[in-house]
Structures are given as structure tokens and as C-alpha cells.
Symmetry: C2
Subunit: 194 residues, 2 copies
DNA sequence: CCGACTGTAAACCGATCGGTTTCCGAAATC
DNA sequence: GATTTCGGAAACCGATCGGTTTACAGTCGG
């Protein structure tokens, strides 16, 4: 099915997709079959299934970030850049087959916060919070640290809602984020106060 | 281990605990062993493991509700009753061994929104939103429907954060809910405008 | 042409999966 | 006291689990 170049890439691709679609309990056999890689190769490329879980999560970090966060070429105001994350999330959910934020879903399934996959999830969730924080600082927010955490919570809350309801979000995430930003004084049309 | 009266109750208790602690992929053998019930009995009390998942979730609904939502004997203002949910969540997380909202976690693990367990999860998540909605109507909020959904999202976002970070929440949920309520005009010390 | 290396296919390991079945002791019914 | 019902213990089913091993095909540099 997957036909990238190296066995390692094929494995990481298949793992990223199947661990998300079927959960981390999917078998190594099915995984290797989907990747077109023998189990022997898998186990000399990765120490264990647990390590593959973590590495596949990490390998998707950049793509997932690019999917949700506006790049530096987007020169809209910080507030718009923040709200854009929720609009993108909305679009991903509306695109169908949404099964939650891969990082949160994996952490929830693994149960063990010390599992290498949980560590990676924690790291990449922090990156979203960091993005919010940078933008909030640009916007001159009073308490960017708290606000960044709150925005991340709204993001994950929206993701949870999408999973539980199995329906599009209808802009509720962006609306909630906007309300919170308004309450914090990060208003529309407001430029950073340099 | 569990020593309630009937095999059915023992099964539902053990299932509620083990499905939460270890995930829905825990084996039926381990489940029955923990409940002190034979598999034969289990399979004549429940059609399948999937049905047991759903029924165990549903059987814990009332207790979970009582754990998080203030009862009718609590005559504080609606705003306080709403914020109290987040304070209780905070306490549950701080109590340790928190693995997320059982309904969201189960829905995330099941992947399939038509699974009987997912249907139950959807139903009980709606009950929390309904609680918020009732209180918001009492408080005279302008748009109780939207606000109730937003509060539920904050709740689930806080739960996700607790799982991913594996740390206490430190009041961030209640603070976010309070900010949102303030922004919506549901202020502290404000009584319902009858 | 040879050996070293890479990678797949597949057998194999003990354990466990969801689910069914058999057996048998304890208790309740008549 | 005989019988029926309940329910636990455990064997059993084919399938799959994570992980290891053997065997073999292709592809290099020498």
C-alpha cells in the first residue's frame, strides 16, 4: 500500500496512520503488512513497538504543525493567526474521519505518562501552547502564559467534542477562543503595541 | 477482589474500573477474574464485551454525575454551581490516577461513534452540557446553549491537559470557565433576574 | 565470482484475545 | 430426598498478540 523509499519511512508512515485510525493496540503484524516491511526489519529499525509509537508520533510532528498553525509568511495580526488554528481544526474535523488530536488520543490510550509515546505527545502539545504564547506576546496580552494554556485547552476541548459527537464543530472552537481573547483584551483589529 | 452482591454488579464495577484504568482493550478473562465471575456467567448477563463496555459506562453515570455536579441542595448562585464542577474536576485530578474523562477516553479508544459505548458516552457528555445549560438559564445568560457547549469544551480540554501533562490542573479550568462566564455577562454575585 | 549486507517471507514462541462449552458443587425448589 | 437452577473453574476454539528466528532473494563492493 504505502510505497515511500526506505522501510523506515514506510513504517513510520503506516504507523502514524494506523495507530491513529485503529489505536495503539493494533498488531505489529498488521502494521508491517501495511508498510510492506518484514517484522525482522521493523525490530532492527526500532527497539520495540512502544518505540515505534513514539517515533511515528514524533515524525508526524512537523506535518501536523504545518497543518494547524499558520506559517511565518502569514502576516495577519496575532489574533487572527491564533484564531486560524481553530479554523483549521474545524476544517480537519469537517473533512471527516476525525478521531481526535493524535497526541491526546495516544496519551489517553497509553494510560502511562512515562511511556515514550506519552512523552512525545506532551512535547508536541507544548509546541501548540508555545505557538499561542508567541502570538499572545506579539499581541501584547497581559498574561500570555495563562492565556496560551487556556487556548490549548479550548483546542483539546473542541477535539474531544468532535470525537464524542462525531459531528463538525461549526466554528464553536474559534468562537470560544475569540471570546476568551476578547475578555483578555486581545481585540480584533488591534495591533501589537510596540 | 470486588465483593458486591450479584455477579452483574460485580462485573459492572470491575468493568467500570478496569476499562478506565487499562483501556477497553483489556481482556475479558482479566475482567471476569477481577470481578470473581466466570466467563460463562458474563456472557449470559451481557451479549458481548462491547455491550458490557456500554453498560458499565452507563451504570457509572449517576455516580460520576454526583461526583462532579453540585446537587440541588447546594443553593449557591448558578455561577458558583457551574464553577464548582471545575473545582471538583480539579480535585479529582489532584487525587491522582486521573486518566481523563471516562466517556471521552472510551469514545477516543473505541474510534467507532456507532459503538454502543460511544453512544453512551455521547449521552452522558450531553448531560453535563445540560447541567450547564440549566444553570445558565437560571443565571439569565444571553446564549445559554452556546455557553453550555463552551463550558463542556473547557471541561474536556482541562481533562485532556491533565492526561497529557500528568499533573494537577491548578485551577486553570475554573479560571477559564470564569473568564468565559464573565465575558458572557454571568458575573460573580449576580443573581438571576427574575 | 565471492562474501557481506539488506530486506522480505514465513515459521515459530508462549501468551492472550473474544467467545463457547463442559463439568461439577452449592443452593434453592418441589 | 430428588430435582432443578445458578454460577464458578477450566478446557477449548481459532485468531492474534509482541517478539525472535530461520531461510532465501537481491544487490552491492571487492
Amino acid at each position: 500500500m504505502t510505497t515511500s523509499s526506505t522501510p523506515r519511512e514506510r513504517l513510520l508512515d503506516a504507523a502514524g496512520e494506523l495507530f491513529y485510525r485503529d489505536g495503539v493496540n493494533i498488531g505489529v503484524d498488521a502494521l508491517c503488512k501495511a508498510a510492506g516491511v518484514s517484522k525482522k526489519s521493523m525490530y532492527q529499525l526500532f527497539r520495540s513497538k512502544d518505540e515505534l509509537i513514539a517515533e511515528s508520533l514524533a515524525s508526524r510532528g512537523a506535518a501536523y504543525q504545518a497543518l494547524l498553525q499558520p506559517g511565518p509568511e502569514d502576516d495577519r495580526p496575532a489574533r487572527d493567526r491564533i484564531l486560524n488554528v481553530f479554523e483549521r481544526q474545524d476544517a480537519v474535523v469537517a473533512g471527516g474521519n476525525y478521531l481526535g488530536c493524535p497526541y491526546v488520543a495516544t496519551a489517553v490510550e497509553l494510560k502511562n505518562p512515562e511511556h515514550p509515546g506519552s512523552v512525545v505527545a506532551r512535547h508536541f502539545k507544548q509546541q501548540l501552547t508555545d505557538f499561542f504564547h508567541r502570538e499572545l506576546v506579539k499581541a501584547g496580552a497581559d498574561d500570555p502564559s495563562t492565556l496560551a494554556i487556556q487556548l490549548t485547552m479550548i483546542f483539546d476541548g473542541a477535539a474531544a467534542r468532535a470525537v464524542v459527537r462525531a459531528q463538525p464543530l461549526g466554528g464553536i472552537g474559534a468562537a470560544t477562543a475569540a471570546a476568551l481573547l476578547d475578555a483578555a483584551g486581545v481585540h480584533a483589529g488591534e495591533l501589537a503595541l510596540h
